[in-house]
Symmetry: C3
Subunit: 243 residues, 3 copies
């Protein structure tokens, strides 16, 4: 697929999410659990959030996709991640990884590298995090930045949608990882799913910024915009190049 | 009491909460702790949230009521719940249970069933969760849905207040469990307390929806509406039937 | 420094925060992690939040200041606090303490007292919490209340800025502790840093309250106001006396 064909495909996937309401289980850092859950609901997916080792397998089995975020990592979370990825592999559920701040913590970077080989569909990370990680060629990578680069095996898309206020709201990167999982639940190609999710969040951010007076009012506006986002918004706002 | 008498009673209880500012301790899932605390404060109660086993008894002793939510359940949380219910029983403090998503996790459902016999005042659950649980006859049950059913020993009220946006905001069900506990702090009859809390949240949701542009702006509007809610709003907006 | 000289100094420090974007690590109670992170970002600082014992030292080493909040204290958090303060001492990083609700829990009060002697720069507490604690004379204390008293060795400032809605939003006290740490990152005198942070938050609250319809809309408005706050706002709004 080339950049020209991505927006109509993303528009179809958005409608598919609205009609199927896929459940996305999130092993999410505790800081942003509610914001990410609200963002998934606003898009049209259904979030769940437990990280209890005794329960995680049941929740992953009921979900259509999984997202793993390494923020607020501790011993119990490590156990839960291992159990969750085991359940995802058994049932062929796609999953996305956000190695949040792994450049600040050598053990977190080591765990991230280890997880890359466990059937990962999409890695979402910033440039500093990407520099520490070597994903297998079948993994799609979203390298976030002023322009987001979505690549697999060296080629893909550059998505220029988005707004600077996004970086002032804690958890928008984590939400991106969860939305990628939601698109993976309705689209088997991880590159297409990841680029569509990136476009959807970027377009919603642009709409939200129009009425925001700062980062505080931008956050509820972003949830409103995700909820109101239409397929034609994606066609109208997309700024995507081949990369 | 019949449905006709409930709104004036709920209006009295709302004023009682504002004048007494009861402290409600919450063993709340980590996803929605702040939202539930803010909702209790907006109503006029005072929240506390610790779930540390070493501290939980001191906090329950200083509270007028307790709410226990089984989301994000783990080993430490189980210990804290047991200690909290012990302290509540010793001091005759009322408590409410929300078995959040117990239909997704057999161990969570088993724990919920076990807790029903520990002096519970009000069980708050959706239809799927209720189907798994058999509360003793003295427990009041709030079965949430498009119409909320508040029953004890087979009779009670159907409350039709509320707004669909409520379901798009993570934690509104959890907040309902906390508001029920707040009303239990000022009203000894659990059926009356539970129906009054359900009416208050439903009425606030209707007021909030008037100015909301989506689920993002609905959330702060709901807190504003709880804060501004008057006894006469309850009389004016109540849609309650005998059930 | 006397009260007359404080506002221009606070205005300089605000500009310094915007230009240096100091990283502030927060050992923050789980209830308000996102709100505090968003508040630090809105001011112009950069938050981090992990409390994992295996990672905390790396994060403190990368930060310019640290804030420790004793809400939602448990065994793991105690270990993390000890490791974090060890790293802060080794590298001479300033830190602030909020003994949140230590008047509700004897073990929490005992820990707070113990921490006062570990190189603390600023203690932030309400009157009930302050009454239980005896800080060494070199520690600056912010005693929050209708008027905030910022004292060291018996003298300092009374800051009258602020708005009553602040008390209806869970986490504004915790945010105050984090903003104090941000000012400590750019100002070596803890009394000046603490008074400047208190002025900044109080002034932002006054601006936010102008457009708020209740505590729900006050919260995003407070973040917008922190983000838009200018040095001249501090000069114009300051109500500070010697104390």
């Amino acid at each position: 697929m080339n950049a020209h064909d991505l927006p109509p495909r993303a528009a179809d996937l958005l409608e598919r999410i609205r009609s199927r309401a896929p459940r996305v289980h999130c092993l999410m850092n505790t800081v942003v659990q509610k914001f990410v859950a609200d963002g998934l609901s606003a898009l049209g997916a259904r979030p769940s959030m437990t990280s209890s080792p005794e329960e995680i397998r049941s929740f992953v089995r009921k979900a259509e996709a999984l997202t793993v975020n390494l923020g607020t990592l501790d011993a119990q979370r490590r156990v839960a991640i291992d159990l969750a990825l085991g359940a995802a592999a058994e049932e062929g559920k796609p999953w996305a990884l956000d190695p949040a701040h792994c450049d600040y913590s050598p053990p977190r970077a080591a765990l991230a590298q280890e997880l890359l080989s466990r059937g990962l569909a999409v890695l979402r990370a910033n440039a500093a995090e990407c520099a520490l990680l070597a994903p297998p060629p079948e993994v799609a990578t979203v390298r976030s930045g002023e322009t987001d680069l979505i690549l697999r095996a060296g080629s893909g898309f550059a998505v220029e949608n988005g707004h600077p206020l996004t970086a002032k709201v804690t958890g928008t990167g984590c939400l991106s990882g969860a939305l990628i999982a939601a698109f993976c639940a309705v689209e088997p190609d991880p590159l297409t799913a990841a680029a569509s999710a990136t476009l959807a969040l970027g377009a919603a951010a642009e709409i939200a910024a129009e009425g925001a007076r700062g980062p505080g009012s931008f956050e509820p506006a972003l949830l409103d915009a995700l909820h109101a986002l239409t397929p034609s918004d994606l066609l109208r706002l997309a700024r995507i190049r081949d990369a």
